[in-house]
C-alpha cells in the first residue's frame, strides 16, 4: 500500500481574507511497510499533510494516489480507502461516544460491514494490541476510564479496522512518560509484527530518532528535509533555524566534537552514545 503525492498544494478558506496556504507543492512517496516520522514547527502543515493520505482533505491543486487510486477521482470510494488507511487524531479520546468500549471500538469495523462475531474478534485483538483486557473493559463506559485508558481505547478504535497504513498525529500528547513509552512501543511492535506502514507526527525528536526509519521535516507547508534520521540530524543548522533542534544525545555528541573529542556525531540513542564515547576514550568505561 503506497501513498504518492504530486505537486500537492492546499489552501484553507480559499477566496476569503483569511486564506492560508497550508501546503505548497509537496511531492512525496511513502512505500509499503515504511515507518515514517513527520516533524516540523507548529503550523508547518503536518496535520494538513496527513489528512491528504486518506482523503479527509482533497488537494486544492495537485494529485494524491493511494495504492494507485487517484483520491480526487469521482469514482473513488473514499470510505474504502479510509478502512485501509487508519488515522488517529490528536487527542483521539475526544471522539469517544459509545455506551460501551465494545460499541466504540467496534464502530470502525461495523461501518466496514463486518458480521458481529468478526467485529468482536477485531475488538478483542485491537484492545490486546494497546495492552487492555477485553473481558474486563468491554461492557464499561469509555467515559469512566482514566485518561490514559481512554487514549488507548480510542487508538484501538482505529486499529480494529486493521488498516494496512496507520497514521498517528501526536498520539502521546498529554500523557505521562511511562504511558508515552508504552504506546510508542506498542505501535512499534505493530509495525514489526504485522508489517504495516506507520506514519507518525511528533514533536519529540527523541521519539522519532528512536523509532522511525525515515524522517520528513516540514516548514511553512513544504518538505525541507527527507531522509533517514541520521541523514536528517546531520543538517543540525537547518533544524536549529527551524527551532527544532536535535535529540539530546546527538546534541551532546556535537558539543563533544566541538570541544575537540573526535567522536562520530551520527548517534541517536543513549546506548550508542555510551559505546562511541567509550571507543574514543580507549575502551575504558
Amino acid at each position: 500500500m503506497s501513498i504518492r503525492l504530486e505537486n500537492v498544494s492546499y489552501r484553507y478558506l480559499e477566496d476569503t481574507p483569511m486564506e492560508t496556504t497550508a501546503l505548497a507543492e509537496v511531492n512525496l512517496e511513502i512505500g509499503e511497510g515504511e515507518f515514517v516520522g513527520i516533524i516540523g514547527p507548529t503550523g508547518s502543515g503536518k496535520s494538513t499533510l496527513i489528512q491528504h493520505f486518506n482523503g479527509l482533505l482533497l488537494p486544492t491543486s495537485g494529485k494524491v494516489w493511494v495504492d494507485g487510486v487517484d483520491l480526487a477521482h469521482k469514482d473513488t470510494q473514499l470510505r474504502i480507502i479510509r478502512q485501509k488507511v487508519g488515522m488517529v487524531f490528536q487527542y483521539p479520546e475526544h471522539q469517544l461516544f459509545g455506551e460501551t468500549v465494545l460499541e466504540d471500538v467496534g464502530f470502525g469495523p461495523q461501518n466496514g460491514g463486518l458480521p458481529a462475531e468478526e467485529v468482536e474478534q477485531r475488538v478483542r485483538r485491537a484492545l490486546a494490541y494497546v495492552g487492555l483486557d477485553f473481558e474486563e473493559l468491554k461492557d464499561q463506559s469509555p467515559f469512566e476510564l482514566s485518561g490514559g485508558q481512554k487514549r488507548r481505547v480510542a487508538i484501538a478504535g482505529v486499529l480494529a479496522m486493521e488498516p494496512s497504513v496507520l497514521i498517528l498525529d501526536e498520539p502521546t500528547a498529554g500523557l505521562d512518560p511511562k504511558g508515552r513509552e508504552e504506546i510508542l512501543d506498542e505501535i512499534c511492535a505493530l509495525h514489526k509484527e504485522r508489517g504495516i506502514t506507520v506514519i507518525l507526527v511528533s514533536h519529540s525528536m527523541e521519539d522519532v530518532a528512536r523509532l522511525v526509519d525515515r524522517l520528513i521535516v516540514m516548514d511553512k507547508g513544504r518538505v525541507v528535509l527527507d531522509g533517514t534520521p541520521v541523514e536528517v540530524f546531520r543538517e543540525a543548522d537547518t533544524l536549529r533555524e527551524l527551532g527544532l533542534g536535535l535529540p539530546q544525545v546527538t546534541e551532546l555528541m556535537h558539543e563533544l566534537k566541538a570541544k575537540g573529542l573526535a567522536v562520530n556525531t551520527d548517534i541517536l540513542t543513549v546506548e550508542a552514545a555510551e559505546e562511541e564515547i567509550a571507543r574514543v576514550m580507549g575502551g575504558q568505561r
Binding site: 477566496d15 481574507p17 479510509r82 469517544l96
Partner: protein, 264 residues
C-alpha cells in the same frame, strides 16, 4: 469545511472608517436600516437605500466578493420568498408558465421583497463583519443599561452573548474535528434515509456535547478564579467612546432615514 462559508456572525478585523465607529453607532445604524427597509415602498426608495448600503460596504474596505458571498447560505429562503410573491400574487396576468401565472403585481412585489431581504442581510452582516464580538456586546450592554430599572439584566445578557459568540467558531471547529475523526473510522453522515441519518449523528453529537460541557466547566472555573462575580462594580479596560466620526455618521443616517422614509 462547509460551515466556514457562513459570513454572518464572522468578524474581519480592519482599520476602515466603518471599523472605527463606536459599536453603538453601528447598532443604531443597522436598526435604522431595518426601519427604513420596512417603511420604504417603490423602486426609487430601494435604489437609494441600496446605494447607501453600497457606500458603507465600500467604506468598510471589505472585499466585495466576500460580502456578497454572505448571501449564499440564505439563497433558499431568498428564492422561496421571491418565488412565492411572484407566483401567488393576484393581478394583471403577464404570462403563464405551465401551471404558474406571473402577474405584473407579483413581479413587482417579488422583486421588492427580494431587494428588501438582500439589503437586510447585507446590512446586518456588515455590522458583525466590522465589529468585534466584544465591542458588539459592549455596545448592546450600554444600549440596554437604561432598561435595567425595569428588570432587564443588561450585563448578564451581554455576557451570555459574548460567550455564545466566542464559542461559535470553537464549536464549529470541534464539530469539524470530530466529524473527520469519525469519517476516518468509516462513518457516513450523508447517505441513508432520515432515521439512518439521525442515527449516524450520534457519534458526532455525543462527543460534541461532552466537549461543550467540559469547556463550560473550565470556563466557569477560570472566570471565578479571576474574580468574576457579575456586573456590579465591574470596570472596563476599553471604554466605549462616542467620537466626532460617530456624530457625523449618526446625523447622516438619521437624516437619510427621515428623508427617504418620508419621501418614498
Amino acid at each position: 469545511m462547509r460551515f466556514r462559508n457562513l459570513t454572518i456572525g464572522q468578524h474581519i478585523p480592519g482599520d476602515s472608517p466603518i471599523h472605527r465607529l463606536d459599536p453603538r453607532t453601528k447598532i443604531l445604524g443597522t436598526a435604522l436600516l431595518i426601519v427604513l427597509l420596512f417603511s420604504v415602498d417603490g423602486f426609487i426608495g430601494y435604489a437609494l437605500v441600496a446605494l447607501a448600503v453600497a457606500a458603507v460596504i465600500h467604506l468598510s474596505e471589505l472585499p466585495w466578493r466576500f460580502v456578497i458571498r454572505g448571501l449564499r447560505p440564505l439563497m433558499v429562503i431568498l428564492l422561496l420568498t421571491v418565488g412565492l410573491n411572484v407566483f401567488l400574487t393576484e393581478g394583471e396576468v403577464l404570462f403563464r408558465l405551465w401551471f404558474l401565472t406571473v402577474t405584473r403585481e407579483g413581479l413587482v412585489r417579488g422583486l421588492m421583497m427580494g431587494t428588501r431581504l438582500i439589503l437586510l442581510i447585507l446590512g446586518t452582516s456588515l455590522l458583525t463583519l466590522t465589529t468585534s464580538p466584544i465591542q458588539l456586546t459592549d455596545g448592546i450592554e450600554t444600549l440596554l443599561n437604561p432598561f435595567r430599572r425595569i428588570g432587564v439584566p443588561a450585563h448578564e445578557l451581554a455576557m451570555m452573548m459574548t460567550i455564545a459568540l466566542r464559542f461559535i467558531p470553537t464549536l464549529l471547529e470541534e464539530t469539524e474535528k470530530i466529524m473527520k475523526a469519525q469519517m476516518a473510522r468509516g462513518a457516513d453522515f450523508q447517505s441513508g434515509g432520515l432515521m439512518q441519518r439521525a442515527k449516524s449523528l450520534i457519534p458526532l453529537l455525543v462527543p460534541l456535547f461532552v466537549s461543550a460541557f467540559r469547556r463550560a466547566d473550565e470556563l466557569a472555573i477560570a472566570m471565578e478564579a479571576r474574580g468574576y462575580r457579575g456586573g456590579q462594580g465591574r470596570t472596563k479596560f476599553r471604554e466605549l467612546r462616542f467620537g466626532r466620526i460617530d456624530a457625523v455618521a449618526m446625523v447622516l443616517s438619521v437624516a437619510f432615514t427621515v428623508l427617504v422614509g418620508v419621501l418614498f
